[in-house]
């Protein structure tokens, strides 16, 4: 993976830039190499680079001050939430200042009449729900990293979670943001219902991977907590049958809050690790429905009836809190479990559910061709796949082989009508694959949006767009058109 060469002139001015930042925000600047190490990479830890400096501002005004200085100095800036990005979205370059939001965790407003909460953007996803659950509400997007990841990172990546089949992803639950532009100006986007006159700027900022501005505060929609929830585990003797069952459930008009899928390699690894008591089968589904007990009974009866048509090896409907916990336990430990037995690379392609059998077949074929095992776990209801490619990081050349195979799988997803990333984002990781999904004209249209928000291309550069395509803009040699 290639990163642009750091601007030597900026690196040479490091001391002066740090001094200027420190004068403006005295207790917020970190430049000791031992301390900036922690900001060398995000959760895509295979790639790392120490930044020029790190600033940890306390509020919007400080973020604006720091950005204004960086803008004047021509220094690139990398925004950072909790650093859990799996796409290298928060990875710095040697000439960049990292602005971390870890000190900005304040709860600013809870309004139950308007069903919203306003927080500083460094606050963790889980703590947003924790702030309102006592009053019977929750914040719906629930990425698996919710204990650690920050709302600002969620907004930048438009993160989703297991329950997004019913509740949508971040963009569907975001009402407004305070955004600081690269030149230090502050703007409020959104409004009641997330709606503002003119263009939907909030909609385009969400998912822009920290390239349009730094989100310092966010207004989020909160929802009343459902009366209850119950999962069922359904085991099958083939992945195809499991896939067909997913389609049949959706087709029948039932909309569960979650439908999760695991295949045999994944089940085996998870069992060895978490001991959730999963059945011995080729593939399994976890289907969760919500409501009061009679409502859940009604939905479960329908799901059971549909599943019977696919001759499942087992239909295990939870009858207690403990059983529910155990059904989810395996799924929730899947990534950790795989990490215990092997190095792995987690992909994040999305496909139309109808293409599931074809894609699973294609992945198996690629697995043979590249000689690397794959375990599949994914959000089946919405076609968001997480194939985990297993490799040995110490074996020479295996990481490269793994990356090549990952690229082939993602191309396959695009070929069947899907996309490169369903929730993790493009970052540096999938940047060069963008041309598989978009024409140059499509990419040019997206880059025009960045031109408007950040004309000098200083915010989180070298992410999202293929390096060759973004080079004229990053180097300031593009036409003003």
């Amino acid at each position: 993976m290639q990163m642009p060469v750091a601007n030597a002139a900026i690196v040479a001015r490091r001391a002066a830039i740090v001094a200027r930042l420190r004068q403006a925000v005295p207790d917020a600047v970190i430049d000791d190499p031992a301390e900036t190490r922690a900001y060398e990479c995000d959760a895509l830890s295979a790639y790392r680079c120490p930044p020029l400096a790190v600033v940890l501002p306390a509020d919007t005004a400080q973020v604006a001050t720091v950005l204004r200085i960086c803008h004047e100095e021509g220094v690139p800036v990398v925004p950072r939430g909790a650093g859990t990005s799996l796409a290298g979205g928060a990875m710095p370059t040697a000439d960049a200042v990292v602005i971390g939001l870890s000190r900005m965790t304040a709860l600013l407003q809870v309004d139950l009449t308007d069903r919203l909460i306003r927080v500083q953007a460094g606050r963790t996803n889980l703590s947003v729900t924790q702030a309102v659950e006592g009053q019977g509400f929750f914040y719906a997007p629930d990425p698996s990293s919710q204990l650690a990841c920050a709302i600002g990172g969620n907004i930048a990546m438009n993160s989703g979670g297991a329950h997004c089949l019913k509740y949508g992803v971040t963009t569907n639950n975001l009402l407004g943001v305070t955004l600081v532009l690269m030149d230090g100006s502050v703007v409020e986007l959104g409004g009641p219902m997330g709606e503002a006159p003119g263009l939907d700027l909030l909609g385009v900022v969400c998912g822009s991977e920290g390239q349009l501005g730094i989100v310092t505060e966010a207004t989020l929609r909160i929802l009343p907590r459902p009366a209850g929830a119950r999962p069922a585990l359904i085991a099958f003797d083939s992945s195809e049958t499991a896939g067909a069952c997913v389609a049949a459930i959706i087709r029948a008009g039932i909309l569960p809050v979650a439908i999760e899928f695991m295949d045999r390699p994944c089940i085996r690894a998870t069992e060895a690790f978490a001991n959730a008591g999963y059945p011995d089968c080729e593939a399994l589904l976890i289907v969760e429905v919500e409501g009061t007990a009679p409502e859940i009974d009604e939905q479960m009866a329908l799901i059971r009836q549909i599943a019977q048509g696919f001759a499942p090896l087992e239909f295990r409907e939870s009858r207690s809190e403990d059983e529910s916990r155990r059904i989810w336990l395996g799924r929730k430990s899947a990534f950790g479990a795989m990490g215990q037995i092997n190095d792995y690379m987690c992909l994040d392609g999305t496909i139309p559910v109808s293409a599931l059998p074809q894609v699973l077949g294609g992945i198996a074929e690629l697995s043979r061709r590249f000689g690397l095992d794959v375990a599949n776990v994914f959000h089946a209801g919405d076609g968001n796949m997480h194939p985990l490619i297993l490799y040995d990081a110490n074996a020479p050349g295996e990481l490269q082989r793994c990356e090549d195979m990952g690229a082939e799988i993602l191309k396959l997803c695009v070929r069947v009508g899907g996309c490169l990333t369903g929730e993790h984002g493009v970052g540096v990781e999938k940047r060069e694959l963008m041309t598989e999904q978009f024409s140059d004209i499509d990419l040019e249209a997206q880059m025009r949006v960045k031109d408007v928000f950040d004309h000098a291309w200083l915010l989180n550069p070298a992410k999202v767009f293929p390096l060759a395509i973004s080079a004229p803009r990053r180097q300031g040699t593009a036409d003003a058109a």
């Binding site: 700027l201 909030l202 822009s208 999202v464």
Partner: protein, 344 residues
């Protein structure tokens, strides 16, 4: 002009020397819009791809909304959002105006159901963004930018949308006799519990209107719980589903205004809006009839008000200068010759 293909559409835009007014069915035009040469999209019609099991449909922008709804209904489905139905309107017009009816309180707006778009910008280039899968964070979300852009960035040629199962059972409930201000706490109570209310509005003659949809047992359960919860406001009676379209008034004696606010701000606004025709979205949307040509005198609030009928367009309060600048620059980037700016 009425192109039949996307290529023809692109050619027209590349070659035009005069400003264009993009229209679908022309059913959602606002004051000052539609002044340029008409460019009708109704020739670009038809379903490109429909996968009921994936809950997605891809449709050309000029397709009549009613035709699309019929096709979906034949598979037991509907659009995943609720457009307000206007005779002759096209799905492109619905998307370009982000037109979202009562179900918005539960499932979100039109923009939330839009998965992908193809459009021709002011340079005559065909641009594709998003896709046809439910989760997609590949690149910037220009789909949202196009939703509600009212034809000022380009002409939509194709839209991928989320569909949803048609609810097997639906019931409209009412609390009659409440005036607008008294309706607000009842609406808030209905939306603050686990009742999955899919419509929460108010009409002067019908009072509070609530809708429950889903499987039969579930609707019955939620109705019982909701009745208990709303007991302090009166007794919830069964009402008529035909009332819902009236939550989107189309005409006023003077000018029709659409006011967006937080429900907690609504009481203060209501005090300044003598003629309220309807409220929707739990009080976040107020439709008011105001004397023609006159701007309402409203206290400061977090939303905005738009005049949707009458002689001239008007939005209150004035857009913040920086936001206005971002809007203008984006429009200039996508439409450098200002072909589509007639309505903006």
């Amino acid at each position: 002009m009425r192109p039949e293909t996307e290529a023809e559409l692109a050619q027209i835009i590349r070659e035009t020397r005069v400003p264009l007014s993009v229209t679908g069915g022309g059913s959602r035009l606002r004051p000052d819009e539609g002044q340029g040469q008409r460019l009708e999209t109704t020739g670009l019609s038809g379903v490109v791809l429909y996968e009921p099991a994936a809950l997605t449909v891809v449709v050309r922008a000029g397709t009549l909304l009613q035709d699309l709804q019929q096709i979906l209904a034949s598979e037991g489905q509907m659009l995943a959002f609720e457009p307000d139905l206007r005779p002759g309107s096209t799905i492109g017009g619905v998307a370009a105006s982000n037109s979202s009816g009562p179900r918005r309180v539960l499932v979100g707006a039109c923009r939330d159901a839009m998965l992908g778009v193809r459009f021709v910008d002011g340079r005559g280039q065909v641009i594709s963004n998003g896709g046809r899968v439910m989760k997609n964070v590949t690149g910037y979300d220009l789909v949202k930018l196009m939703a509600g852009s009212r034809g000022t960035l380009g002409v939509l040629s194709e839209i991928a949308l989320r569909t949803a199962p048609l609810p097997p059972c639906a019931v409209t409930l009412a609390l009659p006799g409440l005036d607008a201000a008294a309706a607000l706490p009842a609406l808030t109570a209905a939306l603050s519990g686990p009742f999955d209310v899919s419509g929460a509005g108010w009409l002067p003659d019908a009072g509070v209107l609530l809708r429950l949809e889903g499987l039969p047992v579930s609707v019955r359960e939620r109705r019982r719980a909701l009745t208990d919860r709303l007991a302090p406001f009166g007794s919830l009676i069964e009402s008529d589903a035909a009332l819902w379209p009236r939550l989107v008034p189309r005409m006023a004696q003077g000018d029709l205004w659409r006011v967006i606010c937080r429900p907690s701000e609504a009481p203060a606004l209501l005090a300044h809006l003598p003629q309220v025709l309807a409220m929707d979205w739990g009080g976040a949307l107020i439709w008011a009839d105001l004397p023609a040509g006159q701007a309402p005198d409203l206290p400061p609030w977090s939303g905005h008000a738009t005049r949707v009928t009458g002689d001239h367009a008007m939005t209150l309060p004035a857009t913040a200068p920086l936001v206005a600048r971002l809007n203008d620059s984006l429009r200039r980037r996508f439409d450098p010759r200002a072909l589509f700016q007639g309505g903006a």
